[in-house]
């Protein structure tokens, strides 16, 4: 019941930011991912939609090399994650579901720390951090402790931080969890803009209202891909919420 539609208008390898081929992963006997294949072109916002337990977190763990996959290939901007992991990681920006900012350190310090982990220091790090804050309109808050920022600002800061080393691919794992409606909408808009500027964005979520009609939609359920295509072509005019619930309500069990 896999639905496939054309969504990458003639994109060659050069146009692919992230590609995943036949990726499988098991914890003991439990198969968490089973032959997952999809790719995200540059300039594309790809929503990875799946209910809890679909395998999204496992996929992110493999994409960020917390785990290594034994079956399948991950390529980031053409770099094979298994063969050249460091080159691949250098092209990825990640926003984890859990907050990873140091709450007691300043906004500025957090940005410099991350830059240094990517080998960027001195004037270059300062210039990039300043640019990141300018984009967020937070230049005057550089000295503030992260603890004093609200949840929406913290998330935006994490996104800005993930872009300091100018990656080709931006991964976000349920980035709007715990945010109010306004912050959620604003961050969803912001990341759509980032995709439009040329990044390959993979946005994991279980909230259908974060996906837009022209976004690429990948539906993951029980470790398999059920659909991969432009959102309005996959839904064919029906509300995404209904399509998603129908797809993931595997008889006889009912998915949440």
């Amino acid at each position: 019941m896999t639905i496939k539609t054309a969504h990458q208008g003639g994109a060659g390898i050069a146009g692919i930011g992230l590609s995943v081929e036949q990726l499988s992963h098991a914890y003991g006997a439990r198969q968490a991912l089973d032959g997952v294949t999809f790719s995200v072109a540059r300039g594309t916002f790809c929503a990875l939609l799946g209910p809890n337990g679909a395998g999204k977190s496992t996929l992110f763990a493999l994409l960020t090399r917390l785990y290594a996959s034994r079956a399948g290939v991950i390529r980031v901007a053409g770099h094979d994650m298994a063969a050249t992991p460091r080159a691949a990681l250098a092209r990825i920006g990640v926003v984890f579901q859990q907050p990873t900012l140091d709450l007691d350190l300043s906004v500025w310090r957090n940005l410099l720390y991350f830059a240094a982990l990517h080998g960027i220091a001195g004037k270059d790090a300062a210039r990039r951090s300043e640019a990141a804050l300018q984009r967020l309109g937070m230049a005057q808050r550089a000295k503030e402790r992260v603890r004093d920022l609200n949840g929406g600002h913290r998330r935006r800061l994490e996104i800005a931080r993930a872009l300091i080393h100018a990656p080709d691919v931006l991964l976000l794992d349920e980035p709007t969890v715990g945010l109010d409606a306004a912050a959620r909408a604003s961050i969803t808009d912001h990341v759509h803009d980032l995709a439009a500027s040329g990044l390959s964005v993979l946005w994991a979520t279980h909230l259908t209202d974060e996906v837009r009609a022209k976004d690429q939609l990948v539906v993951l359920h029980q470790g398999r891909i059920l659909a991969d295509g432009v959102m309005d072509e996959v839904t064919a005019g029906r509300p995404l919420r209904d399509v998603f619930l129908t797809m993931t309500a595997n008889p006889p069990t009912v998915a949440p």
Binding site: R30, F96, Y113, L117
Partner: protein
Amino acid sequence: MTAGLIALWAILHREALRFVLQRGRFFAALVRPLVWLVVFAAGFRAALGLSIIPPYQTYITYDVYIVPGLLGMILLFNGMQASLSLVYDREMGSMRLLLTSPLPRWWLLTCKLIASTAVSILQAIAFLVIARLWGVKLPWSGLAFVLPALFFGGMMLGALGLVLSSLIRQLENFAGVMNFVIFPLFFLSSALYPLWKMAEASPVLARICALNPFTQVVELIRFALYGALNTAALGWTVLATGVFMAAALWGYDPARGMAQRKGPPADA
């Protein structure tokens, strides 16, 4: 500056800032050995007679004897705490961030270890100053030698903590590690009593104490405090560091270790 050194500096700087900001952690780490020094040593001063054993050249009081053991205790608790906090979600996030860096993983873990050891050394120095003010007689000449000894000891115990953090998926609390790692390491060592004293009570236990890597750290520090080098202790400490580091790298190897556990990451 190469990328590796930039990262090392940043990780050290971050750990130092967090150390300065988390005063509670600093005082807790300082109060523990001080209580032992002030209360425990006073109570046992009469009960435990000590003979002259190297590196001591004269009769010493019990509080002088346990200072190296208490320095070891600071390294032990800090090494465990720094790494075990990784097990908790709060810290696991920052560890995941660290591991997405394009630098080699062994280097990132080594940086982390050096940073937590540096914090341990600061606490050990603070303890030495207070012990001195309390009236414990230690030669000034040993201070220059004790710093490298603390470094080697801190690296070894920090590496042990890293191994544990890579093996233990979720901890109910710190108590399990207290009971099964910290207490055995501390009590089955020369920290509180010389090994010949232990041998009088039980030769088997004395053998175990001698094999305990923590004993080697304590003896390394004890000799260093008197400007002497205990080559055997240094050798065993470095060897144990190598073994624990190799185990930690195995544990954090993305193809093994954590991935072998039966479950997705904690935030699944």
